[in-house]
Symmetry: C2
Subunit: 399 residues, 2 copies
Amino acid sequence: MHHASDILFTLFIVFVAAQIGGEIAQRLKLPGVVGEIAAGCVIGPSLLGWITPEQIATGTPLDVLAEIGVVLLLFSVGLETRLEDLKKVGKVAFLVGVLGVLVPFGMGSVWAHGNGFDWDKSLFVAAAFVATSAGITARVLQELNALQRTESKVILGAAVIDDILAMLLLGVVVSMQGGGGFDLSHLLVVLAGAIGFIAVVGLGGARVMRWNSGWLEKPLAPHSPLMIVLALCLGLAYLSTLFGLAAIIGAFLAGMIASETRQQHTLEKQTMPLLALLTPFFFVVTGSKIDLHELASADALLMLTVVTVIAILSKLIGGWLGSLSLGKHSATIIGFGMVPRGEVGVVIASLGLAAGVFNNRIYAIIVAMSLLTAMVTPPVLAWLLKRTASAEPADQPRI
Amino acid sequence: MHHASDILFTLFIVFVAAQIGGEIAQRLKLPGVVGEIAAGCVIGPSLLGWITPEQIATGTPLDVLAEIGVVLLLFSVGLETRLEDLKKVGKVAFLVGVLGVLVPFGMGSVWAHGNGFDWDKSLFVAAAFVATSAGITARVLQELNALQRTESKVILGAAVIDDILAMLLLGVVVSMQGGGGFDLSHLLVVLAGAIGFIAVVGLGGARVMRWNSGWLEKPLAPHSPLMIVLALCLGLAYLSTLFGLAAIIGAFLAGMIASETRQQHTLEKQTMPLLALLTPFFFVVTGSKIDLHELASADALLMLTVVTVIAILSKLIGGWLGSLSLGKHSATIIGFGMVPRGEVGVVIASLGLAAGVFNNRIYAIIVAMSLLTAMVTPPVLAWLLKRTASAEPADQPRI
């Protein structure tokens, strides 16, 4: 009669660990998200083992809750982002996205080749240096109430470009393994599909909502606008995976569409408790994937340090060059905003392990690098953002 | 890079099916929950097969989301329930709880014995007639804005008593299988543990919160009161399973404790979006467990009808007799409020199947009976509640 006891314990532990970690981080003047990731590392398999590797594998309840958490996070970020504002920063965001992919890919493949990988394998390793995970940066920007700054718009726009390019790059790199070539026409179809999806959904959806959002209140259910946009969020998150994009891109689009409705303010308030319950699962699960045992040697630590420095510098340089037209300080904020690889790097590393390109150690190092970039960014970003007032005339206070 | 695609599709389908089902039900002047359960039946394995039996097995992501949904539902019901109000109806609730267990257990075991079961097996079958699932009734009462009525307080109090007794009864019945006796002293320990848990947590927690709830705002995290009570909800849900009780009993206690805080009103508003996102999973998953194939014969349908009528009548009579002191109309509302067996009956049936007491057909019939009582109750309850104003001086409007 009383099943589900174990999973309730796990949910409780994860949720409480996130709160304690977040509180400690904030007392230390760090962004709360750093504490949540650290809490995951502490209660995860590497240290306390209160959550096991089986519990955070793909498709497990914790993994799905984490996925829902990050989907809702990007949805809420979209809710605070107007399409018009993104369009204004379109050119800069495009440059940041492109250079933020090319520089890490170049530096990553040179490093990998220098460390004894064949060129085709080096390109796979380099792919793990590429994809920015928007979740970490989005959370920091939201925590610091900075989503209305120009730099934030550039980062969010660039994250969309980044995800498209990273997807294409990964497709090319995977097809090249074993010395095979790749199919350019197929690649162009994939590219056109992804861009078409984003354009049709983003532009079309925003136009429909701006034109009339009264129909959201037609259903009899109380809070029907929330129900409809949540359905939209889940639906677009799914659809974007069909086009080869990350689920969070679809969720971000759904939020951006919902930001054009006249219920936007209510929706923003209603989304807050959903984030409060579910995003801790994402950050704790992310942190729990750090495998400290594989890194417990001087060699491994040295390699990790080098890889992490390359990963941070290359992304910073790419983003900085792309946004230099906004001034050096803004360019630095944007460059750092693109640094976190987070769960995207973890997923590419898993693909590499499955494909036999990575051994266990390089896998652990790439995973640790992805998570270190996620840990390092929030404090730096917070410090940079606090140093200057916004370039915008006024920050809108969040409620 | 783009995992979790399948599960996102399932989440989308379940969520949208719940909204459509709820909307149709409400247009037909039925409670929305009926439509959500029916939607689960339609998209479940019996009809469309968009969700498979593997996807709703214990411990799967959908099952866990359903569990979180019903836990949050009972938490929110607790948030609208003051301990003082429950105490006022304590005696009636106790009588309703006890008679609501004894009458179905008696009638169920007589029916099972009359249908060829040995007495020890008959008692197991009868145990599946016993346990009320508070989730369905709670949702109807909440939908109809009737949680402040005296009848609602009695039903909620009785549901707690019911769960304690059902747990004890199941313990006895399981230990008696194979002709073994049972250990009375062990039983008394279990009883004392469950009552002690509820008393200490309920009385102690409410007292702490009434005395001072300012500390909920001490943490730096925004919305810290919500975070703390959500942690309390998950923690008590887990703890109550350790004492052999349903997770929803602990969640209800957590809500009741939180209702004594001065942040109660804010918490109530913040809980709403959580219910909106997560309770649909509970009702759709519940509905998807109806196996129409096993019931597709005249014999099976006849047996199902008889079993369902006994299940409804016995609970109605027990609850009615227990609350007759409140007048016949209130007693009828309370009696019907106790009728739904919902997921609790399903779980007992699964135990019976695993223990070899039930064959596939009797299993399917007990499951269908549990779900039918859950389907039949909401419209009747809605009709009964709308027929009379509350016995209370004034219903508090919900915001």
